[in-house]
Amino acid sequence: MTLPLLQRFLPACLVLLVLAAASLLVGVGDAGGSEILLASRVPRTLALILAGAGMAVAGVIMQLVAQNRFVEPSTAGTAEAATLGMLLVTLLAPDAPVAVKMLAATATALAGTALFLRVLRAMPLRARLTVPLVGIMLGGVVGAASTLIAYRTDMLQFLGTWQAGDFSTVLRGRYELLWLAAILTLVAYALADRITIAGLGRDAAINLGLDHRRVVAGAIAIVAMITAVTIATVGAIPFLGLVVPNLVATVAGDNLRRSLPLVAVSGAGLLLVCDVLGRVIRYPYEIPVGTVMGVVGSALFLVLLLRRDARHA
């Protein structure tokens, strides 16, 4: 990392620490009791940091691979496909261990993302704003199929828990899968240069001697796994992967090796803010972070869209 970026990265880390401390202190019950702290607050805060960093990283990778700023797991059908996978494996093998369910969700997420990328290849490049539209429509169809199945099998409530991110049930022993997201983020960091080159487009990447197919396949595998892990443990978190990379790109550019740490830290920070908000607004009740993120994220996204467009006009 160059010096100016380090200057942004270190303060961001400090802010994250402050937010994490706030997350440890806010809540019902006396945080002084070490039992509450260790069994609930610490796991919840860790889960928020891991999931927030993971989803933001998944978003930035998708945007590079799809060569479109408005793509992320929830606007490309990836999240909906992972949810469908969770639903199917829960219906077919209710007693399967979580790892198996996650594998199934990863497989469907991969299939959904691959379909989306195939559709993209057939679209003209200039259709910048049509790309997320098609992704959202695709997600809508997969979501409708899940709803149909869940409606028929009395699983609507389960579906609800995967569709809306909620950290209120995170306890020690029930979030550790999310460390996988951290490992995947590290893998992404190791592949950062290659993914950045893949983001220049297929022809340019091949000219530069990159095995474009393999890098893209690896990148979407990382995205699918991060999405599946997050949905299996805490549910879908909309727009995080969209807003954070866009904001970070304005200060750190598109070189993944440089921007990735900042993306991860900012994603974790934004999710922490939203979760603490959800815990405070209707104290002592909670509003799930997926809902808060839906409101905050879509509002931020609207601002991004309109501002970007004003600049072009």
Partner: protein, 321 residues
């Protein structure tokens, strides 16, 4: 669209006639098959249902074809503009504010719901389309994001409800043709006829729009005005049908694409009626089969949504090849 070399087997008028006959036959069957009660009960009971099916069919089919023409894209439906979610937000807001009992006069409520949805569309279109010339895709995306915003706000409000209220509320989230208030039909029909007249006067300009924006302007069409006008008509049509029976997302996609396939012409004067007739056949036929063969009632909208979704996937897969 057929190419000029392959000779069309049927003329557009003939196709329309065949579709109309099929729709009429199904409507008659719907009114009479298995009717073993007193006609004074059966006729108004089934008549209400048939009328609401036909209204929704016309509204959704017309809205989708119009929307696809102005957006130049055959895999979009107006439902992605956030209308469904706005409808659900209004439903949720009413229940939160007034409880499940205090919903008031259904006619008043229908007018309020339609009014709110059209107003939303008008504000959005006016604001965004005046920003710049290629605002349409931006408009679509903003509509989509508004949909997510509305959905999150509904979920937020639903957190404030007790479970009993939530169950009542949830039933209004799926399209339902069985519990339509007869007094709403006249209102909905009025809105549909008004919008239909507007569409009829536009058909010529719509055909020109199919050529693309630049060509349409070169041929003397006021592109922005026409676009706004069409989108407002779409908003009225979608709002009327949503307020009448609830959200139907993918029906339009199914019937519009079927209409493009069976019609040996791209002219809106024949494609629009064809899409409406196909929608009528799908809805009335589907309801008939479900009621008489499978004796299920509420599942029609879900089945059709699924078929419509499959259509989309097929279209996407074909484009991808």
């Amino acid at each position: 669209m057929h190419d000029g070399l392959a000779r069309p087997r049927l003329r557009p008028g003939h196709v329309l006639l065949l579709l109309a006959l099929a729709a009429l036959g199904l409507a008659v069957a719907f009114m009479t098959v298995g009717a073993n009660g007193r006609w004074s009960f059966v006729l108004p009971f089934r008549g209400t249902k048939l009328a609401s099916l036909l209204l929704v069919a016309c509204a959704v089919a017309t809205a989708t074809v119009l929307f696809q023409t102005v957006s130049g894209n055959r895999i979009l439906t107006p439902a992605i503009m956030g209308f469904d979610e706005l409808y659900r937000l209004i439903q949720t807001g009413t229940v939160v504010a007034a409880g499940t009992g205090g919903l008031g006069d259904p006619r008043l409520r229908f007018l309020a719901e339609t009014g709110a949805m059209v107003l939303f569309a008008l504000l959005l279109y006016r604001w965004l389309l005046s920003r710049d010339e290629r605002g349409l895709h931006l408009l679509l995306l903003v509509g989509v994001v508004c949909g997510v915003l509305f959905r999150s706000l509904s979920q937020f409000l639903q957190r404030m409800l007790d479970p009993n209220q939530f169950v009542v509320l949830q039933s209004s989230f799926f399209a339902n043709f069985n519990t339509v208030h007869p007094e709403l039909l006249a209102l909905a029909a009025l809105g549909l006829v008004a919008a239909g007249l507007g569409v009829w006067r536009l058909t010529g300009r719509l055909d020109v729009l199919l050529l693309g924006r630049d060509e349409a302007i070169a041929l003397g069409v006021d592109h922005r005005r026409t676009l706004t006008l069409v989108l407002v008509l779409v908003a009225v049509l979608v709002s009327v049908s949503t307020a009448l029976v609830g959200p139907v997302t993918f029906l339009g996609l199914l019937v519009a694409n079927l209409a493009y396939r069976v019609m040996p012409s791209y002219r809106h004067a024949v494609v629009l009626p064809a899409a409406a007739l196909i929608a009528a056949i799908t809805l009335v036929g589907g309801q008939l089969v479900l009621e008489r063969v499978f004796s299920l009632n509420a599942a029609l909208s879900i089945v059709i949504e699924f078929l419509g979704g499959l259509t989309l996937l097929l279209l996407l897969a074909r484009r991808a090849r």
